[in-house]
Amino acid sequence: MSKPEFVYVTYIETTPEKLWEALTSSEFTRRYWWNTSVVSDWKVGSPFALVMDGTITDVGEVLEFDPPRRLSYTFHHALSEAARKERPTRVVFHLEPAGKLVKLTLIHEDFAEGSVMLDGISKGWPAILSSLKSMLETGTALAIPPSCLGIEGVS
């Protein structure tokens, strides 16, 4: 059993239900995730895709859908040729009430040795989670330029 590569945690002043909707509804994700839609019927085993401004950036399969506690999907980057050759990785969102807050833990794991995805992921998730927190707490997401990711094909 290899250990996860990334474990990100943020505490958000919201309810697990609202946070769940923010993670699974495109109406919300487009506001804090660089205009990215999350496309799936959310049945376990169904396909999943991230679509940014009409371009599919990542694809996968729904592994767990247990609202409002646990969401997971496989994650395979579709834009960069080098990343396309790598095996799919796995993303798990874990939501736990913590007093008036919700603790959101994001685990991204199962990267290939020397994965080219590691760098983009480690820049992307902290920005996305910061923006998500701002959106839920203040109503306004952060305007982070997607070019900060340094991902081929994303400007």
Binding site: M1, K3, P4, V7, Y8, T10, T105, S122, P126, S130
Partner: protein
């Protein structure tokens, strides 16, 4: 945000974050290895870093693994650095890095 600045104000805690940046997901034992600090001191520092949410932990089998959690640092960057010009700062950091490399 106060907790983050307080946690970052200590050089031992910054060095623990540097060690996690170099190799993410370490046990307490691995983090103590080669450090001049006692295990108790490392435990205390990790507790402060975890309370500030700069370190996240998960159970992995029998082990407790520590991860660098950059989300609060990212938020500080967004709050303070975006007020300046990010492009120029990147250029200046790069210039500093290049000049210092030449001295090595």
């Amino acid at each position: 945000m106060d907790e983050v600045f307080k946690a970052l104000a200590d050089p031992s805690r910054r060095s623990l974050l540097d060690r996690l940046h170099a190799s993410n997901g370490q046990t307490l034992g691995e983090l103590c290895d080669g450090l001049a600090m006692t295990r108790q001191a490392v435990t205390k520092h990790l507790g402060i870093l975890e309370a500030a949410n700069l370190v996240s932990t998960i159970r992995h089998g029998r082990e407790k693994l520590h991860y660098l959690n950059p989300v609060p640092i990212h938020r500080i960057g967004e709050r303070w650095i975006k007020k300046f010009e990010r492009g120029k700062l990147t250029a200046l950091s790069e210039l500093k890095r290049q000049l210092e490399k030449r001295d090595e």
